[in-house]
Amino acid sequence: MFLRKILMASLLLCGATITVAQESRFGTPATQADIDKRFWSTFPDGENLPDGQGTAMLGKPLFEEQCTICHGTPEARGENDVLFGGHGTIGTDKALATVGSYWPYATTVFNYIRKAMPYTAPMSMTNSEYYSITAYLLYENGIIGEGDVINKETLPDVKMPNAGNFIMAYPEVPEEYSIQK
């Protein structure tokens, strides 16, 4: 009886000093490997960008081999999304939204092609190859130099021409563009 009281008291003391453990009724604790396998997002500030690096010069032959069949070249459009040109067309009746004329963040270009391209074989290239193709797209759109090294340090610093033209519409569209006056 006495021992049991001591046990109770010590349990209460323990309870007072530790914080409540985070518990899931039916979930399983996730390991870093669980997260890394499923988390492909990279952010404009560079968060979660991988190691590796590339240049437009290295990217040109990769683009021609893997991407031109659908996306054409800077000189000739392909069947799918146009990636080059269109500068100055946004806001006109002939808007051509490309990587160069419309995309606000260079990290998005890398993030998207790294996880989704080539369309029939996504994730089939190395991080340095994806950095190189990103560099090629930025170079052909007149945003970086042909020999500029693109990696997790330099990519977030690339300034995209249309970056300042996006307006937050959540939770409300700004008055100027609102239909509900």
Binding site: Q22, F26, A30, S41, D93, N111, F166, M168, A169
Partner: protein, 433 residues
Amino acid sequence: MTEKNKTLVVDPLDQAAGNGLMSRRLFLNSAIAGGATLATAGNAFAQEAVVGEGQEEWTLMPGDDLPEYGDVSRYEKGRVKRFVAPPPGLATASLSGRTPLHLLHGTITPSGLHFEVTHHGIPDIDPDRHEMVIHGMVKKPFKWNVEQLENYPTVSRQYFLECSGNTRVNWADPKPDQNFMYMTHGLVSGSEWTGVPLSTLLDECGVSPDAKWIIAEGADSGSLARSIPIDKALDDTMVAIYQNGERLRPSQGYPMRILNPGFEGNVSIKWVRSLYVTDKPVMSRFETSKYTDKLHDGKSLQFSLEMDVKSVITRPSNALSLEKRGMYEITGLAWSGRGKIAKVEVSADGGRTWAEAMLEGPIQSKMLTRFRIPWMWEGRPAILQSRAIDEFGRVQPSRKELLAARGRQAYYHYHAIHSWSINARGAVRHVFA
């Protein structure tokens, strides 16, 4: 006397607005006069026949065995189907399948006819090898497979889903699109979704008070990702595992998907496998280069997530012409991403006069609401329109008002009043009015 020469008598007391719109009361008060044709009786006294003579063959023999999974009638096969757009370019999967709204009734879309838009095809996911992980700004990351999610108390709610590209042709096209209405309006559907509230799972992980966004990623071959505002995620976002009472179809995110009621469809990530809790949006391709609304001044709206108040008349519409003069029911669907539909008004004279339509209940928040109104068509030209108003007083705009505010390049979130013109022969065309 032919039908055309009959004089149609309309009681002025039953008129609700110009050009034949009738009071909703007619649905409640008047019995529909229908006469069954009397069959001529055979001479049973002269030579008595078996009693089944004249019956159809299916009445005279037992039917088929019961299938384990029911299908539509073979006479319906191929008639009621989605419009599936051909692949838009080289090497890509079909982009969209559109719901044939004009052939459906009620507000629940059969699962196999629910619209879908997929940017990287439909993955064939083995549920035993699929898990969803919640991580980032949480005290402890956890993961779940679909069997683990099954253990939680679930909620079932009816919600519409709409692609924000629905009706997009009406922005830039100089002339009204004459494709059947499922081409223009078929990217909206309604279903009962069952799942675990996302807030339940977030609570178990312990979300940081500094969290502002959750980045959801799918397991499709594009790992499609969108940012969800934390207030939404903690409000009514669910991890859905059932649609219309059965496990999700592969095209709807099997074995688990995010369902953000009232938001543009693209944010309700299918095949979800990662939810990263953070303080900033990811700025993925689908929230920067796509699903942003280009304005007339070169700016673009971003994160225009809530679907605007909208409606469309599904009958009559340009796939269903009027064959003769007489009483018709005008019916259609209305919805708002912010809440309930409060009122739908219908015009038969291009917006000069409006009458309130009957709303079929129960009216549910962020779900399709069906409206109906009787209409006496006397063979004169008409322009039919519907205008929805939600519980917050938001009014569906005219096309003119919408274009004045946004320009013509927005591509997404077109939600203006839709106009069907009817000529003296009963042919229905889409017009800008």
